[in-house]
């Protein structure tokens, strides 16, 4: 009950924020926080719940961004539909990659490297393929205020869109967490051999996690391309983007419902508080991310959520367990 009430309170506050604050800058920050929490939830399903550490989620992000932008640019298809085509394409690529990896029982660092390599293949291919814009990338043609084309004159509308997407996915992950599939994922993460012995099919469960994770991340990529009206091979498929995607759920707590949101808020606040410095020294915020990541590995090996749980705040969790 208390959790539901707290969630509702947060929701009302988030929905009311654009009415109370007029600053485009604040809305932009909130939009990016929601966006990173959204793709973080996507990564979290595969990397957190199912325990398959992906170092190449930009793969799915890029497929989503490119598919929706290309469908619009080449065929005039509205990104509202294109984003789902992107998700479908990402699921397809994810299933093929997953099938090959999981069939051979690849895990840990090897799986992380496969994901990195496949994302790199897409990056190099996109860079060299002129039809998709080559190294320059794609500029989404602006149509002014055109809600049917996923374009808004007022940036606050983008905020509401990503907030709704985040709510939907968080609700979905909350359901997943208490579902048969969710428990099977966690069982595989904790001990794959034991899960296998209990009759869980690790191959199928990991593929399901891969598909869900790919679809969500691709939807996030499509949103990103519309929000910034631009995508290029490095933004879309580069290793830097893969790091951005996994950073927030890791910091917040991988394999927890609130981890990606908490991580997105914390890193968002950090980014804003160091913005003045960042402007004069490009790269400084990523330097800080590096330090935070190293610190988190040593001091918060299970993320902020893990630390909160092992402190007194986790009494309820323990009682339930």
């Amino acid at each position: 009950m208390r959790r539901t009430a707290a969630g509702l309170g947060l929701l009302v506050a988030a929905a009311a924020a654009p009415l109370l604050v007029r600053s485009e800058y604040v809305i932009g920050t909130l939009t990016l926080m929601c966006f990173f929490a959204f793709v973080g939830q996507g990564w979290n399903i595969l990397g957190g719940y199912a325990g398959q550490f992906s170092f190449g989620h930009a793969l799915f992000f890029g497929i989503g961004a490119y598919t929706s932008s290309l469908c619009f640019l080449k065929a005039g298809l509205t990104p509202w539909v294109g984003m789902w085509l992107g998700a479908a394409a990402a699921v397809l690529v994810g299933l093929v990659t997953g099938h090959l990896s999981f069939r051979y029982g690849l895990r840990g660092a090897y799986f992380a490297l496969v994901m990195l390599a496949v994302a790199e293949i897409f990056r190099v291919a996109a860079t060299n393929w002129d039809y998709v814009g080559g190294s320059f990338g794609i500029l989404v043609p602006l149509q002014g205020h055109a809600p049917r084309l996923f374009q808004f004159g007022d940036k606050r509308h983008f905020y509401y869109v990503i907030l709704a997407m985040l709510l939907a996915v968080t609700w979905g992950v909350a359901r997943l967490e208490r579902s048969r599939l969710g428990y099977q994922m966690i069982a595989i993460r904790e001990n794959e051999a034991a899960a296998d012995a209990l009759g869980i099919d690790p191959y199928r469960v990991k593929l399901a996690a891969m598909a869900l994770s790919a679809a969500i991340t691709a939807l996030g990529g499509a949103f990103y391309a519309q929000y910034f009206s631009y995508v290029d091979p490095t933004i879309g498929f580069g290793p830097g983007n893969s790091i951005e995607i996994l950073l927030r759920p890791i910091i917040g707590g991988a394999g927890t419902l609130w981890g990606p949101l908490l991580g997105a808020v914390l890193l968002g606040l950090l980014g804003e508080s160091t913005r003045g410095l960042v402007r004069s020294y490009a790269g400084l915020h990523l330097m800080l991310y590096g330090v935070i990541l190293m610190g988190a590995v040593v001091f918060l090996p299970r993320g902020v959520m893990g630390a909160l749980r092992s402190l007194g705040g986790g009494a309820g969790e323990r009682a339930r367990a």
Binding site: S101, A125, A282, G290, L293, M294
Partner: protein
């Protein structure tokens, strides 16, 4: 296409491959001894390239001579990094080790970005364009020197691992960490030494690449992703595997460049990488128990 073009492309591939092999040797040594994949490997190479670059432009030191300064420094830096950053996570879950070296890479790359800015720099030396005739083709001197240097360093490292007490301790710790510790081998110091040597290898590769390669804060990524391909191809932790894998990747990239334009040749390498990971994750020459 004339035979000369193919031959000189082949020679270029072999020479570049020697350099890849040296980068990969450092990576595979660190993995072999500690079972840690060092994502910061390329960043350490980048730092060494900047060090040699500044030594050349400010102090007029030839990049090859600067090895006398950068190699011991790189060993010290690697030793310290292992002690401060890697040792605390040696028994942590694998993904936390990945994250640790990833954090280190993020920190170092962006430190370089803050200090040196993003623009690539190139070091021109008197012999940058000098060529050496070999049969019907001509070899670029700096590339040839880098290749020779890579071979010499690999040979020395091989002797060190096989013939010295410290080398044996290193191999023993790689084989069986706890057993080595029980035999009185100071495993902690051995790990730090391995990381120091691995860093020195990649630093040497950086300095020797400088006369024919640009340096920028991101340059390490180019090499380290190739080095991942090389070590996985040769078998993570395998010394001869790194050499063979390095040469193979260098040749594939160079010959591929003849037939497709731009960076497209890399797709072949990554494709090879994925194929090897999937079919034979222990690598072409990898140990059977890996």
């Amino acid at each position: 296409m004339s035979a000369e073009v193919i031959l000189s492309s082949l020679a270029n591939g072999v020479m570049l491959g020697g350099l890849y092999a040296l980068v990969a040797l450092g990576l595979t040594l660190i993995f072999g001894v500690m079972k840690v994949i060092n994502f910061a490997h390329g960043s350490l190479m980048m730092l060494s390239m900047y060090a040699s670059f500044w030594l050349a432009t400010r102090a007029g030191l030839d990049p090859y001579l600067s090895l006398l300064v950068t190699l011991p420094a790189a060993f010290g830096v690697g030793y310290a990094i292992q002690r401060a950053v890697i040792a605390p996570v040696l028994r942590a879950p694998e993904h936390n080790q990945l994250l640790m070296t990833l954090g280190l890479a993020l920190f170092l790359d962006n430190l370089a970005l803050v200090v040196f800015r993003a623009d690539p720099r190139t070091l021109l030396v008197a012999y940058s364009q000098t060529t050496v005739p070999l049969g019907s083709i001509r070899l670029n001197l700096p590339r040839l020197l880098a290749f020779a240097g890579a071979l010499v360093i690999s040979g020395l490292l091989w002797l060190f691992l096989k013939r010295t007490a410290l080398g044996r301790a290193l191999r023993a710790s790689a084989e069986e960490r706890d057993g080595a510790a029980l035999c009185g081998i100071p495993v902690g110091r051995v790990h730090a030494t391995a990381f120091g040597i691995g860093t020195a290898c990649v630093a040497a590769a950086g300095a020797m690449a400088l006369p024919f390669f640009y340096v920028s804060p991101e340059v390490g990524n180019t090499f380290v992703i190739t080095a991942f391909v090389v070590v996985v191809l040769g078998g993570l932790g395998s010394f001869p595997g790194a050499l063979v894998g390095g040469l193979l990747v260098g040749v594939v990239e160079s010959l591929g460049g003849l037939y497709v334009h731009g960076s497209l040749a890399q797709i072949g390498i990554f494709g090879l990488f994925v194929a090897v990971l999937l079919i034979r994750p222990a690598g072409l020459l990898g140990a059977r128990h890996a």
